[in-house]
């Protein structure tokens, strides 16, 4: 990229405007330096305007597991609605809003549907994906260079003509393999994995597909079973690299519940991640079991259970916040929010407000919506910290 060099001149009381000039060393931000020199006091004021720093977030999950819902919640936290690029391919998978651009990693399939059928590989298999291209383009976008990204058309199963993607402030890459390739993993500022247990996955896919003619219970089951080996081998191991894992399990409040309506959701947050402070309940680092329903709050069956504890997850230190049950009323939601700490909200009730804004999204009445919203706020906090850090670092270094 470009780095600017500071030239000292002998002019008195003048302001010099220097632009960045290309040089052999590379830095990830373009900087503009104002250099002013005064004769009476020998000190230099340097103001830097760092060019846009792109924050890259990775989101991994199997298909049909709530990635789109998460994306919509996330873009809503930052404000604005995310839409496909106007005037482009209508089957584009990309979503663009003011601050965020969401790229679907299916666009980096190296084999289209017929190619995969011939070779007998699924989309989950790394052989069907071009990780080199993925790495190059994510690196370019992170450095502020626009890229021509291929489009994988989910309807036709073909790779369409590429579309131009401008580097956004926040880039979200969502798909099956954001953390699979080590180089791409290193580019991510924050990564999330949606871990849905098999029973819940089955229930959700039934809900999604039973309306579709041609599908039956057996075909849905067969589809899940057939994909399972590849999923376990290639997708599941990514959860050890994630900074936050949202694990969705069947509820423990209702014995033998197999409808998947009430869910037990665990938010597993890695400790020691830069700019990310885990959410906690009452006392950080202790083990808490909390049932908010009682004298102050009345809940309907089956109620709400909360747990918080430090734990170990794939040899990493983590904090786990767990919610089992459903929200029925607004005051339950605000009551719970007021007792959680480190939510990174900008005002009291922000989590509740975000949940209500999207009350029609799936999971708005249980832990999935709650934790997705909280992770969205955490990402916003991370972004703001990163930007503030990048802005102050050069000026601090220059004050010598």
């Amino acid at each position: 990229m470009a780095v600017s060099t500071i030239y000292s001149t002998q002019a008195l009381n003048s302001t010099h405007f220097l632009t960045s000039s290309p040089s052999s060393t590379s830095s990830s931000s373009k900087q503009v330096f104002f250099y002013r020199r005064q004769t009476n006091r020998r000190f230099n004021t340097i103001i830097t305007c760092a060019a846009q720093q792109t924050v890259v977030i990775g989101l991994a999950a199997d298909s049909g597991c709530g990635k789109s819902t998460f994306m919509r919640r996330l873009t809503s936290v930052f404000g604005g609605a995310a839409e496909p690029p106007k005037g482009g391919n209508p089957d584009s998978n990309t979503l663009i809003s003011d601050m965020t651009t969401v790229i679907c990693l299916d666009d980096y399939h190296s084999l289209d549907r017929t190619g995969r059928k011939e070779k007998g590989v699924t989309a989950l298999d790394p052989r069907a994906n071009d990780f080199d291209l993925m790495y190059e383009q994510v690196k370019a976008l992170k450095s502020g260079i626009a890229v021509e990204k291929p489009i994988y058309n989910h309807v036709t199963g073909l790779l369409d003509a590429p579309e131009l993607i401008q580097p956004p402030k926040i880039l979200v890459i969502e798909g099956l393999h954001p953390m699979f390739d080590e180089r791409v993993r290193d580019l991510l500022d924050f990564s999330i994995y949606l871990d849905i247990s098999n029973e819940v996955k089955f229930a959700w896919k039934i809900q999604r597909d039973m309306a579709e003619r041609g599908h039956s219970l057996e075909s849905i089951k067969a589809s899940i079973e057939a994909r399972k080996p590849d999923f376990d081998a290639f997708i599941d191991p990514q959860k050890q690299y994630a900074d936050a894992v949202i694990e969705v399990l069947p509820t423990q409040l209702i014995p033998d519940d197999n409808e998947g309506k009430v869910l037990r959701v665990r938010l597993i947050m890695k400790e020691g991640v830069k700019y990310f402070s885990p959410v906690y309940l009452f006392d950080e680092g202790s083990t808490i079991s909390w049932i908010p329903c009682g004298r102050k709050l009345t809940c309907s069956y089956p109620g709400i259970n909360f747990n918080y504890q430090p734990d170990s997850y794939f040899d990493n230190e983590v904090s786990v916040v767990e919610m089992d049950g459903q929200f029925d009323r607004l005051d339950e939601l605000i009551y719970v929010e007021s007792h959680l700490s480190n939510l990174s909200t900008k005002f009291y009730g922000e989590v509740t407000q975000q949940m209500l804004k999207h009350a029609d999204f799936p999971g708005s009445n249980n832990g999935t919506g709650l934790f997705q919203t909280i992770v969205g706020l955490k990402i916003r906090d991370l972004y703001e910290q990163l930007i503030a850090n990048k802005a102050t670092a050069p000026s601090e270094a220059a004050k010598a």
């Binding site: 391919n89 058309n153 989910h154 599908h215």
Partner: protein
């Protein structure tokens, strides 16, 4: 028929990148600047292709149904082969696409004015006044 038209549209659509003022109009393959071909235009039935918003839902549902049948046939022979697994993966992919299309349709609400205004917010009918 509908499927062929759709796939033709996708193949010929140019990658319009930045100019928002121009909606992407499909360059119908026949309507290129070839005046010597004027005579053949009358015989070509695909002249009046309308720009397609996105693939209609019925198309995807048909594909889902077809892919399930294919998968069941492929797997009847050998349930653990790569082809069988790939076939069921295709079913999953198409089901996901179908469900996204359904959600998009529901979200849009199919109000013709809303749809028009999404693409042309500057026209008189679509102007909003926020103070």
């Amino acid at each position: 028929m509908a499927t062929i038209t759709t796939s033709l549209n996708i193949a010929t659509q140019p990658a319009v990148i930045t100019s928002k003022s121009q909606p992407a109009r499909l360059a119908c393959p026949v309507r290129l600047n070839n005046p010597w071909n004027l005579g053949s235009r009358a015989t070509n039935r695909m002249v009046n292709l309308r720009p397609v918003k996105a693939t209609p839902e019925g198309v995807i549902s048909d594909k889902v149904e077809k892919s399930i049948k294919d998968a069941e046939e492929t797997c009847a022979g050998d349930p653990v082969s790569g082809e069988c697994v790939a076939a069921w993966d295709e079913v999953e992919e198409l089901s996901a696409a179908a469900s996204h299309a359904r959600d998009k349709k529901k979200a849009e609400g199919s109000d013709p004015l809303e749809e028009y205004c999404k693409d042309n917010p500057e026209t008189d009918e679509c102007r909003t006044y926020d103070n």
